[in-house]
Symmetry: C2
Subunit: 421 residues, 2 copies
């Protein structure tokens, strides 16, 4: 008998009909002879609705109470799902994060899992029941308080449970058929990837692919949890995320996919004195605003003035905040001016084969040049090349690169990996 | 420093504005130098909305899961209330039933409190915070499962906490000014009662007064918890429910109030063989449907036939169920026919003074007769007389009795007790 962990997101349980459909799917998996543990998110817009209410009663809701509020969302969806399963003649028992033993640290709103003790989940399976576990939530032992895991928390719950219970597979249900070589809405020739490594999936997720959250993929890699990203609307095989066997590696294509991200903006700090410690000072002030910086470019300083320009990208929704903080520090930092640009976009080429195949960069930049795309910033990792372009040229850029690396569905015969939407 | 327990029902926290208003009231009580424990129900129609969802996914939702679902309601309201209090500069910590130590038996949907261990609530008060506790919910130690206390559960939570923590008063906030001598919508001359005994309050609640639930009043009486029923919309003194001192007793009026109830129907079982055990058999079958019977009348049997008629009242919403069960047992019970009447109403005259003042019955039936009211059934307790009349004559009946016993606000000078809405 296999142990299957299935995770259903909010859009899969948005209303009573969807919940019944998901319940039938779960019952099918159980009937096929599996032990089934289900992790479920809050229904549709529930979390946003609760956040709206919070903002109506308090300008800055205390984090402890916000966690208490938001965890009501999964409580509703998991109980309804258990009821729907019961109506199909199978026993299901729902468990909160604390009942399922999701032990976390004390950081409300962004807690880390420190231990998983799923005794009650195991008891439910032993009794022949299907276990339904609330995603996104945990419990701190010292305070006795409820915590939440932050963005993508339900994915993390599912992977953590799968790891702790040594599940055969952790199925992540979504509204697309799997992980794609690029966003099919932009690149019509994009196709589903059958198999992708954790490492490639991490790079794609970091570069903007939204189908899986980085944290859940990291957790899966560390614990060797086999992920299966698939659609909740059909029974097609989706994308398997795992480590490749050496044999499989040899047949692996050079490039897995092309990810894009339009959610970032660029700040340029003009005329910074090019003396040791200035950049550190600058980024310390940005970090103090709780902002993660992605790409950084520093120009060669002009010999005559000893001044340089520093550009970096950051999430658009933090732009105003960081600009205000830097402006307040203008005298200390000694720069001349700030420039803000929210018409940029990022494009990332990802593939484990880059390590061993020379010429990838050349082919990449040639493709972009031939398509007339201007490149503003570049960063690389071992298995990724990222560039910043104008947002209005992004779609042309991604199509050009997708074709250049033979990723188009009607292109080369080998199936490549890539990014979902 | 006094310890005050305040309970706010769903209509007091129906939206963000109401929650902020209630938060200000709680903060005022804290600022006046009191320790404050707040018990809160789910917002407005939340419970009904959740029940609707449950019925959409499952015809007969499992009781365990229904409790899991419904307890999301108070989780939302209590977290929002704590946030609103924080926005006024005071710390508030919300606690679920299980966090607040409301230990119950295992009966989902109608659990009984078996122990209250409010350690975390006491810690919150010791730290200078206001404690917010979810009403209606508890926790079973053996199963580790969440339970709910059934109808009026939040009143019971408040009284149980007040008893366990030895509170100075348990304030029950509602949308009327207190307990009234009768329903002011029917009897314009009805007025608020300043002070009523537990015993009288129990009789009024049992007879249809909705301002307090029987179970909470019983709990308060057993543990000598002083209740203060008052409006959440103004700061007027409401109605105190407690045991009277002997001095106060002497000045207590004969009659406290007149309660009415239109929620019941009457079933008449026609032509039952008048032999020992038949009535027991009949009512055993009714009890098997989980129905509480209130009034029973058995006619003197006709000598010629040896048959009798038995009539009883029961909640209207159980009528169809009980009729079906009796009809299925027609042969066993040997009756001739069933009659169902949902056009009845009950009227109850309540007053501790009945024990020692003769002539109350005479005055009561005279008043009804003079108003032309036909009486169909009668039952009495030591301090109550109840009758069943036609529902369309009920309003005339209650006004006639209210006046006859000098309960009208501009009537006799003594202030009497009575029923709320």
């Amino acid at each position: 008998m296999s142990l299957v962990v299935q995770k259903f997101g909010g859009s899969s349980v948005a209303d009573a009909e969807s919940i019944k459909r998901v319940a039938r799917r779960i019952v099918d998996t159980k009937k096929a002879g599996n032990d089934v543990v289900v992790v479920v998110s809050a229904m549709g817009d529930t979390t946003d609705d609760l956040l709206d209410l919070a903002n109506q009663v308090a300008p800055i809701p205390p984090a402890r109470e916000l966690d208490m509020l938001l965890t009501a969302g999964e409580r509703i969806s998991m109980a309804l799902l258990a009821m729907a399963i019961a109506s199909y003649g199978h026993e299901a028992r729902s468990f909160t994060g604390s009942q399922a033993g999701m032990i976390t640290d004390e950081v409300h709103g962004n807690a880390r899992i420190v231990d998983v003790t799923p005794r009650r989940v195991e008891e439910a399976l032993a009794a022949g029941a299907i276990a339904i576990v609330a995603g996104f939530q945990g419990f701190n032992r010292r305070t006795g308080d409820i915590t939440t895991l932050g963005r993508g928390g339900s994915d993390t719950t599912a992977v953590a449970l799968a790891a702790a219970m040594n599940a055969d597979v952790c199925e992540i249900y979504t509204d697309v058929d799997g992980v794609f070589t690029s966003d099919p809405r932009v690149v019509p020739a994009a196709h589903k990837i059958d198999h992708i490594t954790y490492e490639e999936m991490l790079e794609l997720a970091a570069a903007g692919a939204k189908v899986l959250y980085i944290r859940a993929v990291e957790f899966a890699r560390r614990n060797q949890v086999r992920l299966h990203v698939r659609s909740s609307f059909n029974h097609k095989e989706g994308t398997i995320v795992s480590d490749l066997t050496p044999e499989a590696s040899m047949e692996k294509p050079v490039i897995t996919g092309v990810a894009t991200d339009k959610s970032e903006a660029k700040i340029t700090v003009v005329g910074v004195p090019d003396v040791p410690g200035k950049a550190a000072d600058l980024f310390t002030r940005v970090a103090a605003e709780g902002v993660s910086i992605d790409m950084i470019v520093q120009n060669v300083s002009a010999a005559a003035t000893g001044l340089t320009d520093i550009s970096f990208t950051l999430p658009k929704d933090r732009g105003a905040r960081v600009l205000a903080a830097l402006d307040a520090s203008k005298e200390d930092l000694g720069f001349q001016a700030l420039q803000y640009d929210d018409q940029i976009a990022k494009l990332a080429l990802v593939g484990a084969g880059m390590r061993t195949h020379p010429g990838v960069s050349a082919r990449f930049f040639t493709a972009l040049a031939e398509a007339g795309i201007n490149i503003e910033m570049i960063t690389t990792s071992e298995i990724r090349i990222s560039v910043v372009t104008r947002v209005d040229t992004l779609d042309d850029a991604v199509r050009a690169v997708h074709t250049a690396f033979g990723l188009d569905a009607d292109g080369e015969a080998v199936v490549y990996g890539g990014t979902g939407r």
